[in-house]
Every structure is written in structure tokens, then in C-alpha cells.
């Protein structure tokens, strides 16, 4: 009895630790994204590390915990974003819903599939932030297809090549241990 309770306690402790480590990874990804975006017009070719990390984990994580992942990624992104928290949370929820829906029919953890999802999410995120800015302040230039494609391509490629590495980051193994794909 005591041994079983102790094992459960250790398990939940390791899960809490893993979530905290994940928060740190997301915070660092967002911070690096912010630094890279300071490049002005050329920043559209800069891949979004935060998006790549979110997608790389979301396609492998247990479906039931995807909501927690969305909230965690939002918490990290809020600190580094001028967009309102509510818009970031909405965006992240949409991403995990997309992944959840896609996983019903496809194995999104495969390199090509996850890079495609990351590309769609990166382009969609650009469009979403413009929409929020426009709705709230009536300003901001509509993102062109070219800009959306640049963001999608660079983030897709990053996820293609580094998605596997992201899944092996310290702390990720506990969270990504698959018990169910659906």
C-alpha cells in the first residue's frame, strides 16, 4: 500500500517537474523568437521556434493533456507578446484542436506531416495576429500570401529537421510518453 502510494506520488511529482521544465522550454523559445524578430522586414523568413516546439509536442502528446499544453504555451508566450493574452490563448487552443482533429485520421508525428501542420500554424498565427490588431485598432497591413508562405515554409522546415530533437529535450520524455494516440 505504502509502496504503491509512494510510486504514484513520485510519478505525479515527476509529471509536475516535467510540466515546469516544459514551461521553461516554451519561455526560452518565445524569448529567442522575440530576439530574432527584431530583424524587421526580413523577420518573415525567421522560423517561429515557439510554434515548432508546440506542434512537435502536440503531435506526440497524449490527447487528453493537449489542453494543458495549450495553456502552458500561452502562459509562456504572453510574457513575450504584445498581443492580448485572450488572443494568444484562443490561438493556442485552435492549434491543439487542429492537431487533435488531424490525429483522428493521420499520424501527425511523422516528419512530413508535422512540418505541414507547423507551416499551417505559423501562417495561421500571422493571419490571426493581424486580425486581432485590425479588429481592435483598425490598423495594420493585411499579410500577403508571400509573407504567409515565408513564415509557413521556414517554420515547417524547422519542424521537419528539429521536430525529433524537440521531442527528446530534457523533460519532454515524461510528457510525451504515449499511452494513446487518440
Amino acid at each position: 500500500m505504502d509502496r504503491a502510494w509512494g510510486r504514484r506520488w513520485l510519478l505525479s511529482l515527476s509529471h509536475i517537474g516535467a510540466w515546469l521544465v516544459a514551461l521553461v522550454w516554451f519561455a526560452w523559445a518565445s524569448a529567442i523568437d522575440t530576439q530574432l524578430m527584431l530583424g524587421g522586414e526580413t523577420s518573415y523568413w525567421v522560423p517561429s521556434l515557439g510554434v515548432a516546439l508546440l506542434v512537435a509536442w502536440a503531435v506526440r502528446m497524449e490527447v487528453g493533456t493537449l489542453w494543458a499544453l495549450a495553456c502552458l504555451a500561452a502562459l509562456a508566450k504572453v510574457s513575450f507578446s504584445v498581443e492580448p493574452p485572450v488572443a494568444i490563448l484562443a490561438g493556442n487552443l485552435a492549434v491543439v484542436m487542429l492537431v487533435r482533429f488531424g490525429r483522428r485520421s493521420f499520424d501527425l508525428s511523422r516528419p512530413l506531416a508535422r512540418s505541414l501542420v507547423a507551416g499551417v500554424v505559423a501562417g495561421g498565427w500571422l493571419f490571426w495576429t493581424w486580425l486581432v490588431l485590425y479588429a481592435r485598432h483598425g490598423e495594420g497591413a493585411h499579410p500577403s500570401w508571400e509573407v504567409l508562405m515565408q513564415a509557413a515554409t521556414s517554420t515547417g522546415l524547422l519542424t521537419l529537421f528539429l521536430g525529433g530533437v524537440f521531442a527528446k529535450l530534457p523533460g519532454a520524455r515524461v510528457l510525451l510518453a504515449r499511452r494513446s494516440l487518440r
Binding site: 514551461l23 521553461v24 519561455a27 526560452w28 518565445s30 524569448a31 529567442i32 523568437d33 522575440t34 530576439q35 524578430m37 527584431l38 524587421g40 523577420s43 518573415y44 517561429s48 489542453w67 500561452a74 502562459l75 509562456a76 504572453v78 510574457s79 513575450f80 507578446s81 504584445v82 498581443e83 492580448p84 493574452p85 485572450v86 488572443a87 490563448l89 484562443a90 487552443l93 485552435a94 484542436m97 498565427w125 500571422l126 495576429t129 493581424w130 486580425l131 486581432v132 490588431l133 479588429a135 481592435r136 485598432h137 483598425g138 490598423e139 495594420g140 497591413a141 499579410p143 509573407v147 513564415a151
Partner: protein, 449 residues
């Protein structure tokens, strides 16, 4: 299903925010401050640049502050009405525009010296220009009130057309008159019951020939604008008055013509507390929030228990950095000047012009080449003779709650003509790596400008 409802609600709130909910969510994300601290080492990479930028700002501070004070003093002199227009014995009470309430474009919220008692109905002028009447004195807050502008729909003022060497035509002016052929932002005052005079141009001045009463007549002789006559579709003649001041967004400081007080002074001044250290709160920059599509901002760490209002100015020394978008218990989200859509009324020191020019609102459109700020400027009345361009140094104007007048924005080349212009502003400082900033909390810590 519940996930879809949650997503739908969040999407709706993102696009059409409800302030109370927005603040609640901001509080919910308060732990984000700790998350930002976790990534501090990334910020430390630019520590040397931050120290250098702070040093540069500090070294130039005295010069900029003295320039800004001189500008505000010049502005004060320029809004002072000419002596010959002021009826004998009247007091001139200086006031600054602290806010223009959204949806009430024909009203100004103003502030004057707290100890001065005023009554509604007195004229409000800027230099020799008539702009409206004091419509309300705030009973709860001494030294605060509202001005109804001459552009108000129901505003009427008796007026006279001044024609050199001929009889003067009497008319009634008030409210706006727009014609579908007008360029965007064009602003004209309507003429009601014009006389039978044949004159088609000239200056229109206040003349309360309808017997408006004592206070109304105090503004007799002040300028409403110039008469404009044009033939429109159908061959009809349209006559209206073009104000020579930007009434839509270029009023920062006004003068109220008040009755004399026994043993009182003839002029009541008002100091701008812009550079009073007690009106500012120091804050460290937690993170720079640059994101896709050129959005740019900062997240500031706030001391708990200090109330910062939304919209308050954030400065780096005497330089304006941006405005607070939302303030939570421990952090504040700031939109910087390079964030698209930020609206600011500016006061310009234009080369070749004797007095500062209230150029009205500019709207930021993001970063331009070489770190310049791209802004859209709707020039309503032009500068000087309206031809060519002129170098100018831009400072914050008035009329925005929480943004004090006289903070440096940058240098620009301004077109002198009327119309919508794209302007590049060279910021006075490179604040991209600043790690400290000041937030405006206003006199008494109220952020009320």
C-alpha cells in the same frame, strides 16, 4: 463541444474585447512575470547595449528637457489671446486638454488651476481663434470641466463676415457641414441663415448679434475661420467656414475668458508637470515583445500596490517609448511607438515657424527604413504658407489621458500642405534594448495627466 464553445468565446473576446474580462484574463496570466524572469539570460545578451543606450539618454537629458520646457513656454505664449481682443477686466485662465472622449469628438475635457472658480458658458479661445464654450464644470474635481466645441451639432454662435471697405455681413455659425466631394478629414463649419451680402470670401469672426448674453459676447472679434464659397453639383453655391485651427485633434492648450475676481490676477497660468519626477514610476523592462507582422511592445514589471492606468505614457528619459495597453497587478503590457495603430497628437517645433505647431494626430504604421517610425498624418490646416516641406522636432501634444505634453518623439521632415501624408520619424533614441523605463502616474499618482 465545450472546447468549441470555449474557443468561440475566446475568439469573440479577442476581436471585440470586454474591458472587465480583459483585465480578469490579464490577472490570470500574472504568473507570466515569473516566466519572463526564467528567460532573463536572453535579455542579458543585450545588457551592454542597454547600458550604452541609458548613458546616451542620460547625457542628452538636460538638453532635451530644456528644449521641451522652452517649447511648452512658447506654446503658452502662442495660445495667449491678443490684448486688443480681450474685453477690459476679463481674466485669462490657461487650461490644458487632458482628454477627448471617444464618441464625443465635439467635446474637450480640460484642466485648469485647481483654485480657480469658473462658470459654464464662458468662451474658450486659442490665440485669436474661437473654439467653443465651457459647457460643464466638474463639481467633484476642482479645476476640471468640459468644453463644447464650435463643431458641435447644436452649437450656434453669432458671427460677422469682415470685408475691408464694405458693410459687414451677419450670420450664424456652428456645427459641421460636410460635402461628399470633401477630402478625408476636411472640416468645415456650417453657416446658418446667411445674409444677402454678395461677398464670397473673407474672415468670419464672432459677433453675438443675437444677444447671446454677457459671457457669449466676450468672444466678439475672435476668429472662427475663413469663408469658403464653391459651386457644387447642380450649380448650387455652398458657403461654409474653414477653421484655421485643427479642431479635430490639434487643440492641446486653450484659454478661458473668465469674469474678473475682486483683487484677483488677470492671468491664471497652469504648469505642465511633464518633468516632475514624482509623476513618474520607474519600472524594469521584463521582455521586449516583438512579434510577426511588425507588432512591437514591452512588458514591464510593476511594483505591487501601484496603480497604473491604461493608456499611460511610458518613457525612456525624456523620450516617449509608448503607451500602456493593459496593466495587471504585477506587469503592464506596453505598445511601443513602432506598433501599428498607435494614435498620438503631436506638437512640432518646425523650422522657420515662430511658434510650436499643433499638428494633430498621427497614427503609427510600424517601422520604416533605418529604424525610422512610419506614421500617417492627416494635416487639417497645413503649416505656414502650406508649400514645400520643413524639418521639425516632434513632441507629445495634449488631449490623450495619461500622456503628458512635451515628451520627445523624434525628428521628421513635415510636408506643409493640407492632406494625408506618410511621414518618417527618426526616433530620438534607440530604445530597442532598454531595460528600464518610466511610467506616467500623474500628479498625486493618479495618472490623470
Amino acid at each position: 463541444m465545450s472546447a468549441l464553445i470555449a474557443l468561440g468565446s475566446l475568439t469573440a473576446l479577442s476581436l471585440r474585447p470586454i474591458p472587465l474580462v480583459e483585465r480578469g484574463v490579464e490577472q490570470l496570466f500574472a504568473p507570466a512575470r515569473l516566466v519572463a524572469e526564467v528567460a532573463a539570460p536572453i535579455r542579458w545578451l543585450s545588457w551592454d547595449d542597454a547600458v550604452e543606450a541609458a548613458g546616451t539618454v542620460e547625457r542628452g537629458r538636460r538638453e532635451v528637457v530644456s528644449e521641451a520646457r522652452e517649447l511648452l513656454e512658447d506654446e503658452r505664449r502662442s495660445v495667449r489671446p491678443p490684448e486688443h481682443l480681450i474685453p477690459a477686466g476679463l481674466r485669462m485662465v490657461h487650461a490644458e486638454v487632458v482628454e477627448r472622449v471617444r464618441g464625443e469628438e465635439d467635446r474637450l475635457v480640460i484642466r485648469w488651476a485647481e483654485g480657480t472658480q469658473l462658470e459654464a458658458g464662458i468662451p474658450v479661445v486659442v490665440g485669436e481663434h474661437y473654439v467653443g464654450r465651457l459647457s460643464r464644470v466638474d463639481p467633484d474635481e476642482p479645476g476640471r470641466g468640459q468644453v463644447e466645441l464650435v463643431t458641435g451639432r447644436d452649437f450656434r454662435a453669432g458671427a460677422q463676415l469682415y470685408v475691408p471697405g464694405s458693410a459687414r455681413g451677419e450670420l450664424i455659425v456652428g456645427g459641421l457641414l460636410r460635402h461628399r466631394g470633401d477630402v478625408d478629414g476636411g472640416l468645415f463649419l456650417a453657416i446658418h441663415s446667411p445674409g444677402a451680402w454678395k461677398q464670397r470670401e473673407g474672415m468670419v469672426r464672432v459677433f453675438e448679434w443675437l444677444g447671446e448674453g454677457r459671457a457669449g459676447a466676450w468672444a466678439d472679434g475672435f476668429l472662427l475661420g475663413e469663408l469658403v464659397s464653391e459651386i457644387i453639383e447642380g450649380g448650387d453655391e455652398l458657403m461654409r467656414v474653414r477653421p484655421l485651427r485643427d479642431l479635430a485633434s490639434g487643440l492641446y492648450r486653450v484659454v478661458l475668458l473668465a469674469p474678473p475676481e475682486e483683487g484677483g490676477v488677470s492671468e491664471v497660468d497652469l504648469d505642465a508637470p511633464t518633468y516632475d519626477p514624482s509623476c513618474w514610476l520607474g519600472a524594469s523592462v521584463l521582455t521586449r515583445c516583438t512579434s510577426a507582422r511588425g507588432r512591437d511592445g514591452l512588458r514591464l514589471a510593476l511594483s505591487s500596490g501601484v496603480k497604473v492606468r491604461e493608456g499611460s505614457a511610458v518613457a525612456f528619459g525624456p523620450h516617449l517609448l509608448g503607451r500602456v495597453e493593459t496593466a495587471g497587478a504585477v506587469t503592464a503590457r506596453v505598445r511601443t511607438l513602432s506598433d501599428p495603430g498607435l494614435v498620438l497628437p503631436l506638437l512640432a517645433r518646425v523650422e522657420g515657424e515662430e511658434h510650436p505647431v499643433a499638428i494633430g494626430r498621427v497614427t503609427t504604421e510600424g517601422l520604416g527604413p533605418d529604424g525610422a517610425l512610419k506614421v500617417r498624418w492627416e494635416s487639417m490646416v497645413g503649416i505656414g504658407d502650406g508649400e514645400g516641406v520643413a524639418p521639425a522636432r516632434l513632441f507629445t501634444g495634449g488631449g490623450v489621458l495619461g500622456v503628458p505634453r512635451g515628451l520627445l518623439v523624434g525628428d521628421a521632415i513635415l510636408p506643409r500642405s493640407v492632406g494625408v501624408h506618410e511621414v518618417l520619424i527618426q526616433p530620438g533614441t534607440d530604445a530597442s534594448n532598454c531595460q528600464w523605463a518610466d511610467v506616467w502616474i500623474g500628479p498625486g499618482g493618479g495618472a490623470g495627466s
